[in-house]
Amino acid sequence: MKRLTLCITGILYALLFYALSGSSPGAAKELKIEATAGCPDCCDVIKPYEGISADDVMRIKYWIKYTKFARDYRSDGKFFLIDKGGLTRSRGFNRYRILLYRSSPEYDYKDMTVITDPQSIKGLAILAWTYTDPKKDQDTWLWLPTLRKIRRVSQSEADDSALGSDWTTEEMSTRRWEDETYKMVGERKFPGFTSKYNGKTYYQGVDCWVVEATPKRNPWYYSKRIVWIDKRHGGNIYDEVYDPLGRKCKDILKVYEIWPEKHCVPQVHLEAYDLATGHSTINEIGNIKFNSGQDENFFSEKTLMRTKW
């Protein structure tokens, strides 16, 4: 009888362990997507709850970053690459994204970026399919205008600079919630960040959650980052990135617009400063549209081939 009891207890514990391990880490039961009824142009909303955990704050942060509140997204933009001496190079781009995770078991979203200038790289287009499975890398295709052909390419290494900017590929497009562990540092008022680019001071006195994010990959090109998250929407407004020796190596500023009627929160101005090289990258994003009814067919090689340059 004693053996039977032990056996049953063992099985029950095993079942309990199995059930717990089977659930996704940090699954946020409290986080609920609120769709805006009767407003097809509006964005969905996730409201943070009282005493929210670092894990859930960061879930919202990624939700905002990849515009998962919308069904599709498009924008035009420009990024400026500024070296230590002030020499500025620029890149213009159009960006398109369709969010598929609501209906597709396989794809999280598909994304296309088309470079519009300068002339030497005009037409370069990048198509990326991101999978729901966090263990799977993106599938990436490049339209190479100088060769007039499409090439499916290996995803760039995550620590590589994205298009020559101060954003790594990971920071720009491939980092996911599952890639880091999170610790809540506290709730603070943001002291403000004065841009070296335009002299403006951003977000002074804004209420934030401060989260320390540590990469699961070790060794990795950064040891941790301190992420300041705006309590109003859950987007990260400022990151301090630390190198493997624990020295601060990068400042990142992200400026959002809040569309109160449609509940959308797009990024409109980004700045990244490499403190080791003195190089910086400024992104200006405009002409933003959400939920314009983009077709999944658009995110295919056929569209890449439409590029003429």
Binding site: L81, D83, L87, R89, S90, G92, T116, D117, P118, Q119, S120, K122, Y131, D133, K135, K136, D137, Q138, D139, T140, P145, T146, L147, R148, K149, I150, R151, R152, V153, S154, Q155, S156, E157, D159, D160, S161, L163, G164, S165, D166, H279, D295, E296, N297, F298, S300, E301, K302, M305, R306, K308, W309
Partner: protein
């Protein structure tokens, strides 16, 4: 004089006040961009530093958007290569090679129609099927301008043709492409006495020279297929992505772009005829990127084409005896991976073969060199590329190896001076036997520079 004038114009344009880096928008429906470029190459084997190229190019690209799904696009390009003025050795070909031939100045001109399931492109254009580097396997839709061997970017050396291209997408990732090509241009190769004349052409000219000296003229006839519905090229391609595995099935029917040559007249030749075989190309390709597991980050690509009805010369080394039908195939297996952060390494294993080794006891001959061919020829290529200073400096090296100890090594550096000005420095080094694809140019090792002003 023309060279000096062009140099002055180029220099003046480089000094113009700063313009916006992006293309010029004329109204909201039209954009214009383009570039001016000087490309200069110098032979390194010659003590005098003989020029192989002093080419100034101007290109203008224009797009007019009639509506959201109806666009017109055109490219006009003109160049002048002063090497045919500067170097006595090449002066005989000045008229033919120093500037754009015929209507080639109209590089592309087409009308685009887009819809979610059907795209149409009608006009002068280039269509690319294959993606191999340095050598073409499935890239068979357009002919090439090989005046500079295969050293130019394929997009620049491809000869655009008038055609209809329709892309129909019955499913999200699947596209059926239909091509109808009533136009025909043969692959252009440099005549004798040019910087990159194929050995076969030089040998032919050397044989005819004594006859010309005694006043016996041998005429050449280029029997291009006439532009008619019957002679049009037709192609189909099915492209699909199934669970991350991308594949294509390709078929192309029409005349080959490279001629087979026959000599008419005995004992002395009277006419050398260039004729074009009607062939069927059956091909396919695949690409798989490993996005998870132990091979994560590796991209594999494959291309294959089988050409039925190909006609090839046969004979002895450097001397063609006759021409026979023989099927031909080419294949490539490609592995590509980033190894350290931004170092991309791409390896290609290429095989080219014929359906039989000999004809009437003779070996088949390699078209450009008239060297005898093995039934299967093997090539290996390695491309290593990276960048520095936030992609301001890009470096790459392509190494091509043929199994007859035939080599080409092509390192290149590109530097972005400003948004509008780019410069490049590189070289092409050739090694091998005279009858090899690269070895035939072993005296043509070159250092080149490029300066490009984009607007």
């Amino acid at each position: 004089m023309k060279r000096i004038l062009l140099m002055l114009i180029l220099g003046a344009l480089l000094l113009v006040p700063p313009l916006p880096a992006q293309s010029v928008e004329l109204g909201c429906n039209m954009s214009v961009s383009g570039y001016l470029k000087n490309a200069t190459a110098v032979k390194t084997h010659d003590d005098r530093g003989e020029f192989l190229k002093i080419r100034n190019t101007a290109q203008i690209e224009t797009e007019y958007r009639i509506s959201q799904n109806l666009h017109v696009f055109g490219i006009i390009r003109e160049f002048y290569d002063s090497v045919f003025d500067a170097e006595k050795e090449y002066r005989q070909n000045r008229k033919l090679l120093c500037k754009t031939r015929g209507t080639d100045w109209l590089r592309e001109l087409y009308l685009d129609y887009y819809s979610p399931v059907l795209d149409l492109r009608i006009g002068k254009q280039q269509v690319v099927w294959g993606t191999t580097v340095g050598m073409k396997i499935l890239d068979i839709v357009n002919p090439d301008d090989q005046r500079e061997y295969v050293l130019e970017d394929f997009a620049d050396s491809r000869i655009a043709l008038w055609m209809l291209k329709a892309e129909w997408s019955p499913k999200v990732n699947g596209t059926l492409q239909f091509l109808f090509i009533p136009d025909f241009e043969n692959t252009f190769i440099a005549p004798a006495g040019s910087p990159f004349t194929y050995r076969a052409v030089t040998l032919g000219a050397e044989r005819l020279a004594p006859l010309e000296e005694i006043g016996f003229h041998v005429s050449e006839e280029n029997n291009k297929p006439g532009r008619s519905f019957k002679n049009s090229k037709v192609g189909l391609r099915w492209l699909d992505v199934y669970k991350g595995f991308e594949y294509s099935l390709n078929w192309l029917h029409g005349y080959e772009y490279s001629p087979y040559k026959t000599v008419i007249g005995t004992p002395l030749p009277r006419i050398i005829e260039s004729n074009y075989a009607q062939v069927e190309h059956f091909g396919g390709s695949f690409t798989k990127t490993f996005t998870s597991g132990s091979l994560r980050g590796l991209t594999t690509r494959g291309e294959f084409v089988y050409t039925h009805g190909h006609k090839n010369g046969y004979g002895t080394e450097g001397s063609q005896v006759g021409v026979a039908k023989v099927d031909m195939w080419k294949s490539a297996l490609v592995l590509e991976r980033y190894v350290v952060t931004n170092w991309l390494v791409e390896f290609q294993y290429i095989l080219m073969g014929l359906s039989r080794e000999k004809e009437k006891g003779y070996r088949f001959l390699l078209g450009p060199t008239q060297g005898t061919m093995d039934q299967v020829e093997t090539f290996l290529t390695l491309l290593v590329s990276t960048d520095f200073f936030n992609e301001r400096l890009k470096a790459k090296t392509l190494i091509v190896y043929g199994d007859n100890n035939d080599w080409r090594v092509s390192p290149r550096f590109d530097f972005e001076v400003t948004d509008k000005i780019n410069v490049a420095l590189g070289c092409h080094l050739f090694y091998g036997h005279r009858d090899g694809l690269n070895g035939e140019f072993r005296d043509n090792d070159e250092v080149f520079t490029e300066i490009r002003f984009g607007f």
